[in-house]
């Protein structure tokens, strides 16, 4: 192609995803094989008989929509959008067939499939961007986001931070000899092996606690004082993941292991030295805070951690986990302080959390969802005690920027502070009459997690819920009906559609129209497969293990969930950075072609899963 077309065709291509990821030279070569065509409004693209050439289509101006053969909308496309990936696949499956119709007069650029394949053979590193498989495409999108971004402080790899000084000793080695090695190497930890397999861990603290204080003979084999089956991390794990393992399990060191090779050790000292993990310090500070005022002063620190996590492009599930650990720490500490104020609880109880907090999916907008399960022998006077305690804790959480729940799903509400038997009866009633009762308003309590008090109460309640659901035929299908009543916005980027959709149509509510849909679907799969974990992805995985969801579907959903979560978190981050109140309303114009394309993929996956779920659970 002569030079003079370059500013017009090449520059256009160079701004849109995935062409913008390609080297200039490859962009130019692709531009050279483009064919340009024009569709009048209503005109349809004739896709492939066997002899038809196949193309990747780029919308230059105008808009189009794709529909499946059953008439279901697959996607709406505007300027800079691409389609035809599916047709790039060698084995295209008939169910993936769709038609594409111009909604307005549309100028289309066509990149011939055969030319593209030839070029990508020359540049194999870039082939993934054009993968016909939506999973691969979403995955490569996440990769790009992570690798292209500046490395945030939280995303260092364990191998970059950990020490390579570590003692490895056989389990029969005498304790004293291991202690000598620990001193010699200046490592606080020894990894204990047996026939080359890692079987345990001994720290210098263990030496103090389990040997000196316990008065144990130094000549005994180290096996007797080791912590068996130690937690380990891989050198490529994120430091953040390691720190979250440390926090969750209250351990101070983690061996860095690849296969059965012990490479080094990561300790809290390393984290301090490298100043990486403010989250660890925040949780320490929370633990030792004396008053609500002390705790509420920590809010900016919490926000700083959230921003650093998002800026570091840490994956959404880790962010959710870290923010949950922090929220747990606040809530626990407040309960302890409350007990100091109100005196010892008069009867057994469990403080449980619900909703996103229970799912380990806390973010900067999360409000509080909590409840109290009282022992069945609780008296009226006992209930008054817990009312007071709950009132105090909920208000204190609010003061720490965990806003009161607008739906009043809080322990302070007498409805959600009940003896175990009443809870069970309520669950039975909801499950039996999903249509008539307020179940749909109380889905938040379909996932609960124990936080404080008697853990067995929550377990018993969960078991009761699962068994009630198992014996009901109406419950799941009514949940499905409810959850598919909202469709993902396949056409948000088309201005025509935006105007049609009524109030608040100028922004996309990413929670209502995307994340909640997946969370709801996950709940259905989690409850029907009896998943004990409540994390959205864990529920889908559990459903997959129980053959409710295909491998392919699972991977698609994983990619979609991760991507949407990331978009939402970035949106909150931007708002916080600009000093605004973070919300879930995203202006579609704020998206680049990159986000748009991948969000569309993600929305399509949600729509597919809804359809699949509808069929699956209606049949039952």
């Amino acid at each position: 192609m002569p030079q003079t077309l370059i500013p017009n065709i090449h520059d256009f291509l160079a701004t849109i995803d995935p062409f913008d990821k390609l080297p200039k030279e490859l962009q130019r070569k692709i531009a050279c094989c483009i064919k340009i065509t024009y569709l009048a409004k209503g005109e349809q693209i004739q896709f492939g008989g066997e002899h038809e050439l196949r193309y990747l289509y780029v919308v230059r101006t105008g808009s189009m929509e794709q529909r499946k053969h059953n008439g279901m909308l697959r996607a709406k496309l505007g300027s800079e959008d691409l389609f035809g990936f599916t047709f790039l696949s060698e084995q295209k499956e008939s169910q993936e067939d769709y038609t594409a119709v111009a909604l307005e007069n549309t100028l289309l650029y066509l990149v011939p499939h055969s030319d593209l394949l030839n070029l990508l053979e020359e540049y194999p590193d870039f082939a993934e961007h054009f993968a016909s498989n939506v999973q691969v495409r979403l995955h490569s999108a996440l990769d790009v986001v992570w690798s292209d971004s500046e490395k945030g402080i939280f995303v260092k790899k364990v191998s970059e931070v950990a020490s390579d000084k570590i003692v490895v000793a056989d389990s029969s080695t005498p304790i004293r000899q291991v202690a000598e090695q620990i001193m010699a190497v200046c490592s606080p930890t020894a990894v204990i092996t047996e026939n080359g397999q890692i079987v345990g861990l001994v720290t210098d603290r263990d030496m103090t606690k389990r040997v000196i204080v316990a008065g144990l003979d130094y000549c005994r084999p180290v096996k007797e004082i080791m912590t068996p089956n130690p937690l380990t991390v891989a050198p490529n794990d994120l430091v953040l993941k390691a720190s979250s393992i440390m926090m969750q399990n209250n351990v101070r060191s983690l061996p860095v292991v690849e296969g059965n090779n012990v490479l080094g050790v990561l300790t809290t000292t390393h984290l301090v030295r490298n100043n990486r993990i403010q989250a660890v310090f925040l949780i320490e500070k929370i633990k030792y805070a004396k008053t609500v005022a002390d705790l509420s002063k920590l809010t900016p620190e919490r926000q700083a951690i959230f921003e650093a996590l998002v800026e570091g492009k840490v994956s959404g599930d880790i962010i959710g986990h870290v923010m949950t650990l922090i929220m747990d720490a606040y809530n626990r500490r407040l309960l302890q302080i409350a007990e100091e104020h109100f005196g010892k609880p008069p009867c057994e109880f469990a403080w449980i959390v619900a909703g996103s907090h229970a799912r380990n999916e806390v973010h900067m907008l999360s409000d509080q969802d909590n409840a109290i399960i009282l022992a069945d022998n609780a008296t009226a006077a006992d209930r008054i005690y817990f009312q007071g305690l709950a009132m105090w804790v909920c208000n204190a959480l609010d003061a720490c920027a965990y806003p009161l729940c607008s739906g009043k799903f809080m322990a302070v509400n007498p409805k959600w502070c009940m003896p175990l038997k009443v809870w069970k009866a309520s669950y039975s009633k909801w499950v039996a009459n999903p249509e008539y009762d307020s179940l749909l308003n109380a889905t938040v309590f379909l996932e609960t997690r124990w936080l404080y008090g008697n853990e067995s109460f929550n377990k018993e309640l969960q078991d009761h819920l699962f068994s009630s659901i198992k014996s009901s035929h109406v419950f799941l299908s009514s949940m499905v009906r409810d959850s598919v009543s909202v469709s993902p916005p396949l056409g948000i980027f088309n201005s025509l559609v935006l105007e049609k959709s009524g109030e608040n149509s100028k922004t996309l509510n990413i929670k209502k129209f995307a994340l909640s849909l997946l969370v709801d679907l996950a709940r259905i799969y989690g409850l029907s497969s009896g998943s004990e974990k409540a994390e959205t992805m864990a529920r889908f995985e559990h459903a997959h293990e129980n053959n409710l969801l295909s491998e392919d579907m699972l991977k698609n959903v994983q990619g979609a969930f991760q991507f949407i979560t990331q978009v939402r978190l970035s949106h909150q981050f931007t708002a916080l950075k600009e000093g605004r109140v973070a919300d879930n309303h995203i202006d579609p114009n704020a998206f680049g072609s990159f986000e748009r394309k991948h969000l569309k993929d993600a929305f399509r996956i949600i729509a597919d899963l809804q359809e699949y779920t509808k069929l699956k659970f209606n049949r039952q």
Binding site: P2, L5, P7, C32, K35, Y38, T61, G62
Partner: protein, 241 residues
């Protein structure tokens, strides 16, 4: 394949003109091939024809005093403009290029020194035009310079070629629509009215691409839902002065 000719259809007249041209003049082989290629059948679908969208950049309107500076063209086949077949060539010229034309088309004399001889460029274009309908936006300049070339190089009268002119098509659309008479028929303005993208740079090839896209848009508007056979197409048969 026997065509059902309407004797008075201008296409038929053009065919007779071509035959007369070939019988009355000594015609070199490349021109003979061009004129012997069959014209479209009246029952052909207008969308199925092969086209060559082209544009000349010149230093003025008068071929006797002004120069042809560059030629750009690309084929439109099966409703697709093929960028891989696009051509743009600068023409080496002896005449002095007026400074003000360089402002418009960004062609400065130094560039033209590296250009090719006009006979090479235009013969290549005529070879590409075999069996194709020529698309231009405002055909006067292209026709005048092509006629001038035929006279100078081959001592031949203007070629009986088949043209479509997007400027005329746009004008007649406006008349039919009884529109509030715009008089801005520049390529960029017309494209804007049809919601086609703005192409920033100017040049023979960009303009020929822009014209090709516009032609498709105009065709679809003109034949919307109607019989799109060649019989109903208004080609450009005008002779430039």
């Amino acid at each position: 394949m026997r065509r059902i000719f309407n004797h008075f259809h201008p296409l038929n007249k053009l065919q007779r003109e071509r035959e007369r041209y070939l019988s009355t003049h000594q015609v070199p082989d490349n021109i003979r091939v061009l004129l012997e290629a069959p014209l479209p059948d009246l029952d052909d679908d207008i969308y199925s024809l092969d086209y060559l969208s082209l544009d000349f950049e010149t230093s003025g309107f008068n071929p006797k005093t002004d120069s042809l500076l560059s030629v750009g063209y690309l084929p439109l086949i099966n409703q697709q403009l093929l960028l891989s077949e696009a051509v743009e060539t600068l023409i080496h010229t002896a005449k002095n290029v007026k400074a003000e034309t360089a402002v418009i088309n960004h062609i400065v004399p130094e560039m033209l020194e590296k250009g090719e001889a006009w006979n090479v460029v235009l013969d290549a274009m005529l070879t590409e035009a075999v069996g194709k309908v020529l698309i231009v936006h405002g055909s006067i300049v292209e026709k005048r310079f092509l006629n001038h070339y035929m006279a100078k190089r081959y001592k031949l009268p203007p070629l009986p070629l088949l043209w479509v002119d997007t400027l005329q098509m746009e004008k007649s659309l406006h008349i039919y629509k009884d529109n509030n008479g715009t008089d801005d028929f520049r390529l960029g303005s017309v494209r804007e009215r049809h919601h086609l993208p703005e192409y920033s740079a100017h040049g023979a090839l960009v303009d020929s691409l822009a014209t090709g896209e516009l032609y498709l848009a105009l065709l679809k508007q003109h034949f919307e839902g109607a019989d799109s056979s060649v019989r109903h197409m208004k080609f450009d048969y005008t002779r430039p002065l």
